[in-house]
Structures are given as C-alpha cells and as structure tokens.
Amino acid sequence: MNADAINDVAARHPDAFRRSPWKRYATPIGILLCILYTFYCSWFFSVAGVLEKANWNLAGAYLADWVSYEIRPDIEFKDNHLTIDYSRFSKLGSNPDPDWVAKQMAIIERQVEAVPAPAVATNKSSQDSFMAPGAPTAEKPAAPSGQSAPAVPETVRENAVVAATVTLGDGQIAVTPKLVTVTRGAETVVFDIAKGSSVTPRTPLPDWIEQRRPGSTAYVSFGFLGRAEVQNDEVVAWRRFFGWANFVFDTNSPFWGKPFSEVASLIVAGARIDPSRSNAALAWDNILNNAEWQHGDVWLKLLQTIVMAFVGTVLASIVAFPLAFLAARNVTPSGIANQVTKRFFDFLRSVDMLIWALFFTRGFGPGPLAGMSAIFFTDTGTLGKLYSEALENIDDKQREGIRSVGATPAMVQRYGVLPQVLPVFLSQSLYFWESNTRSATIIGAVGAGGIGLKLWEAMRTNTNWANVFYMVLLILLVVFIFDSISSYLRRKLMGTVANSNDERRVSARPPAAQIA
C-alpha cells in the first residue's frame, strides 16, 4: 500500500482518521470526569475527616470477635491474698477453674468485718451483688463457708489464693498481692503495686505495654491471644480463644461441657435427667433455647425471610400474569388499556421497596406480612413489565397458525402465545425469587420482619459479632441453596444453560420445553 492509496482511503473515510475531538478525547475526558467526581464526593462526604475519626482498633477487635471469644478473669488484690472472679455470664459456666489460670493456695489469716457471714458470701463484688441468692454466680475460690455471725471483728484462718498465674500463649501474667510480673516472649516487666494508689514498673516499658501516666493503669497487649490491664486494685486479663463458645449447649444445660460421645450416650441410653421428658427432647429444647446463640429464634427468623421472598414472588407472578396480557400491545389492541396497565406497573416499581416496607410495617405491624407485601407490590410492577415485554417480543407465526384453523381468542392465547412465553415467565420469576431472598434480608432491618431485624439488632449491640457471623453464614447458605435450585430449574426449563443474570439471551432463544 503506497502513500497515494493511504491518502485515498483517508479521503474516503474521513471520520475514521480525523474523528471529532470529542470522540478522540472521550476516554481521557471520561477518566478526568470520574476523578473530579471522586474529589467532589470526598469533599461532600468529608471522607478524610471520617477516616481520621474512625476507630480502627475497634475494627480489629470486632473482626476477631466474629470467630473467637474472650474470657476475662478478674484478679483482685486483697491485703495478703487474691480473689479471682469471672464476668457474670462467663462462657465457662458458673464455677470456672480453667487450667490456664494457675493458683497457689496457702493458709492465711485475715480480719473479718462484723457482718453476718452469709452476707459476706453473696456480697463478693458490686457486679454480683445485684443477683438473687439462688442465681448461678461466679464462685470465689476462697469463699468462706457459713460460720455463725460474729459480732466483733475477728481473725480467721483460711485457705486462700496467694499467687495466680494467667498464661496467654507465650505470654504470662504472674500476680501476687504486691507484685505483678508480665512476660511476653523473652521480655519481662515487673510492676510494684501499691494497693489503691499506684502501679509502678521497675524497668522501662516495651512497646506492647502502655501506661498513659506514671503510676496509672498499664495496658498490656498480647496480640490476638488477649490483653490485660494492670490496675492499682486488680489485674484484668482478656484471654481470646478461637471458635464459637457454647455453640450447641449453653452453660445452664445439663449437657454443657460434656464431650460429644457422652452426650450421645446420654441421649440414647442415659437415665432421664428431667423426669418429665426424654433426654433427646431435653437436648433439642436446650439447643433451641441456647441463651447465647438463640438457635430456635434465628432459624424461625430465617424461615420468615425465606417465606417472605417466596410468597411475595409467587403472588406477584400470579397477579402480574393476567395484567401483562392486558399491557402487551400485540395481545390487547386497546391503547388505553396498555398505557394504564404499564403506568400502573411503573408506579408499583418506582415506589421503592423501602417505602412499601415502611408503609406495611405500619399497617400490619412488624413481621413477615409487611415484608411479603412490600416484595409483592414492588415485584408485581417489575414482573409485569418484564412479562409484557416478553409478550411483545413473541413470534407471531404461531399465533397466526392457531388463528387460521379457527381457534377462539382464548385458544389462540393458550396454544399460540403461552408456550412461547411461559418458560421465560417462569425463568424470570425464579430469578426474582432468588434475588428477593437477598433483598428480604435488607428490608427486614427496617422492621419488616425476618432475619434482617435480628441481624441488625445483634450488630447494634457491638458485642455479638460471632452471632452476626453465624447468621451471615446461614444467609449465605440459604442464598447458595436457592441459587442452585433456581438455576437448576431454569436450566431444565430452558433446555440450555440459562445464564443466571442474562435474561436477554434467554428470552432471545426459542423456548425448547413447553409446559403443558
């Protein structure tokens, strides 16, 4: 090709060689606009300020909470001994004595106040004092047994904890009434404790210990394994364990803490724990009513979400089906009827699902009826629109054929139109069933019932991230199952690999299977 030929080609196709500047620079202009818009948005939402104020430490802790839990022994300094408490709803049950808290006991002498002994026994800490006497409490290792009430201060001799060692992986906290030794790896720091006034390290602090003011509380970090606070009257340690605590049975269950084999043998052959019902029934009841995980409630709410999506989509399909015939201009030749039905679909669709959900939550009260109605209203619009578009795209030859043999109008629809569109209709309904399972979760959170609300409540407390993760896994599982069912059915229906999201390809294809 010589220069003349090139010039010739260029002269014949000027727009291919000298495109308008707008076309030539479309890509850089587009990218520039996107960058400018990004700047505008970061100003509009003041992104920098929000990121600066964000609490990133919390993010790590919350993420860790998804798959792990903490246990908090609370070691209090007394004059010559220690007391070890666990938080009130400890995951270790009512009488914790974990092997990672080593205790050294000794006979000590101490003054007992002039208070009746039973009161001393229940009045262990301010936290526990609110409890009813019979309630399960964290027992003090050195709980004084019930002596008769002495009227005057009295010296008693008893067995009490004089030293405790908390092990956190390669870290260790050794506590005695006057001295706390913290070890992490090869580094060791010793703190002198002046009870009620100060915490003083003997050596300079490494970077994993923080003390904001001399003498104040020292914050010790052991990474993922836990953390501790050395205060002037107590040492609080948080030991983190991987996994979900008490997932099957909670600490109030008689099956709690038993290995699987023992639980199984109890259920199959054990003597009745509760005389009124079998062990299997008791175990099932304990699982459903697990106080920490609330399995029964979570499953019920999940079922509500599934039901919301299912009923909403089915009812929407049933209502949209006849209306779509009214809206399709090749089926119903009346322009007014077409327009009215189509605008009605647009109205239902454009009033957002959120608005319907809020309205029906007011109307029906919180629960699945509201969510179901919201999905029903929105999807009647969407499915009606899609159905009528499918109807308008049908092949007219089949209809003409049926009509030419003298069939009634109803017969023409039944044998000329329906076989062409029914697989498309069903496939679209199935697709919306699947996608509504997802949206039902979200509108649940505004009060329309189902797992969404439960999820939202669990998140707002900021303490139940493991429960959140549990529910997320359940939702993912349900979505996955329904995805598979729906795409399997659609594949059967279309006789081809129906692409889950690409409806246009599906509707362009002639339907291979007819539903009689």
Partner: protein, 324 residues
C-alpha cells in the same frame, strides 16, 4: 389435548401407532408433573401464608381494615403543606414541634439561597449510589479480565477471581454497613463501602460475562503484531465491550439508588433516614413530600438510564432488575 382429539388420523401404520402411543405417554406424564408441581406450589404457598400470619405481630385479617387507616392518617392539614415541607417554606400550622419545622433543615449556600433539606438528602443518596457504583465498577473492571476464560489462561487465577466476586456479591450489604457503622459511627460512608463492595461482585460478574462473549479477532490481530497482555486487552477487548460495560454500569446505578435508600433507612444517612423518621413519627406532610421526591427521582433515574442504555447498546440490555 383437545386439538388432537378433533384431528384423528384415519389409519396409522404400526410404527405410527407406536409413535402416537409414546407421544400420548409423554403428554400424560408431562401433565402429571405439571399438576403435581402446581399442587406442591399451592401447598407451599398456603403453608407459608399460614406461617407468616402466625409469626407476624398483627394478624392479617385483624389488621387489614387498619392498613387503609394509615393511608387516611397520611392526609395532611391542607394540600399545600407537603409542598411547603418539600421546599422548606414556613407552615402556618407551625407550633414549634418537629412536625411543622420545615425551615429548620435548610442548607444555605449563600445568605439567602438555600437547598431544601429533602433535596439535599436526595442528592446525598444519589451521590452515595453514583460514587459507590463508580468505585465498584472500577474494581469490577480491573478484576473482570482475570475472571474471563478467553483472556486469562491460568485456571487458578480465574477460579479465585470468580469465587471472590461471588462471595463479595452474596455477602449481605447490611452486615457490611453495620460493621462499618460501628467503626465510623453514623453517616453515609458505611453505606458507600457496603454498596461498593456489593457492586464490585455484581458488576465484575456481568463484566466478565461480556468479556467472554467478545469477538477475539482484534485480540488475535494485536497478538500477531506482538502486543503484550495489557495492550491486547486495552486495544483489542475494551473498545468492543465498553458500551456494554457502561450499560451495565447504568443498570447498577438504578439498583444502587434503591439500595442506598434502604441502607439510609437503617442509619446510613440520606433520604431513607428522613423517610423512616417521618413515617415513624407520623409527620404526614413530610412523608408525602419525601415519597413524592423519591418517586420522581427514581422515575427520572430509570428513564435517563434506559434512554442512555438504549442509545448505547440498542434494545439488548433493556431490562430492569438484571444482575442482583
């Protein structure tokens, strides 16, 4: 089928009779399946309705008359009041309560020019949707080529990219929003992050399907003259898939406007929050104003996007609701 009973072949050959018999068997079985399916659907539907009614706070038939009550309660004092609420004009009924404090929410640009509160909120929601669609599309664009079988040869890379996109798409938006609400406190940023993350998965999937359907001839031409991977993708694939990408982008934007409204209602700012508050507090004029504004915006966004998509790719990507 009645049509076959009208027409009877006078005499069938033995082979013909066998075919006829098989066809009848087939039709009978298909009819049985259809009836069985319908019965199953009916049972499932009635069971579900019963269950939903049992677990709802109010029973359907008890509450049904009161659903209309709520719409009646929405009637404002006079029909100009929603307009005043919409444009933040002072109301004659102002009694100092939250119900009629329309001018309170004005966002002043200068001394005298202001944006009415709900318009500002609506812009916020639209910005959340557009910005997160943009972020999601950017990452989806970058990832989609690694998931496409005709561009990326490594089976593992493809596998992991696809699984990543799937997980990101299926993860409930509300959990991501809730998690970042805990870190950032209330505001639109958690909604942006949640919607963006979901959009990466959704658009990434649409994008790589488009790429897999692309014509490979330009790519082969570039390969023949020794172009590297980036050049082949940028000059061979991107120009032909870009109209479809933009069309999906617009479709996603429509969906994200709705999603960010809903996330707003659970605490992430924007018009959704205003709507939830005004419905919850029973402020009828404000509710009508917000619903009207939201309705108009969604219609406008849908129409604009449909028009643009029509211009870009013709009728082929012309359906709302694809690609959740």
């Amino acid at each position: 089928m009645s049509a076959t009973e009208i027409y009877r072949a006078p005499a069938l050959s033995p082979e013909g009779a066998t075919v006829e018999r098989h066809w009848r068997d087939l039709a009978a079985r298909r009819r049985l399946y259809t009836i069985g399916g319908l019965v199953f659907l009916f049972l499932a539907l009635s069971g579900s309705l019963w269950f939903a009614n049992e677990t709802n706070a109010g029973k359907f038939f008890d509450r049904l008359p009161h659903v209309a009550d709520f719409f009646a309660e929405l009637k404002p004092r006079d029909w100009f009041d929603p307009a005043r609420a919409l444009f933040d004009l002072p109301s004659p009924y102002d009694d100092g309560s939250l119900k009629f404090d329309y001018p309170e929410g004005r966002v002043y640009l200068t001394q005298s020019i202001y944006i009415p509160e709900y318009f500002h909120r609506m812009v916020e929601t639209l910005n959340i949707a557009l910005f997160s669609t943009l972020v999601g599309a950017t990452f989806g664009f970058l990832l989609c080529f690694f998931a496409a079988g005709n561009i990326t040869a490594s089976r593992w890379l493809r596998f992991f990219t696809r699984r990543f996109l799937e997980i990101v798409r299926a993860f409930p938006e509300i959990v991501i929003a809730g998690f970042f609400l805990a870190i950032f406190s209330l505001g639109p940023i958690p909604a942006i992050i949640a919607v963006s993350i979901h959009t990466v998965g959704a658009l990434g999937k649409m994008f790589f399907e488009v790429v897999e359907n692309a014509d490979m001839k330009p790519e082969e031409g570039l390969r023949a003259v020794g172009a590297n991977w980036v050049e082949r993708v940028w000059f061979g694939i991107v120009p032909q898939v870009l109209p479809n990408f933009i069309s999906y982008f617009l479709l996603r934007f429509e969906i994200n406007v709705r999603a960010s409204t809903i996330l707003g209602a659970v605490g992430a700012g924007g018009i959704g929050e205003s709507l939830r508050l005004s419905i919850g507090r029973g402020h009828e004029a404000k509710t009508i104003a917000i619903v009207f504004l939201l309705f108009c915006t969604i219609v406008a966004v849908d129409q604009l996007s449909a028009w643009l998509r029509h211009r870009l790719v013709g009728r082929q990507a012309f359906a709302y609701g694809r690609g959740e």
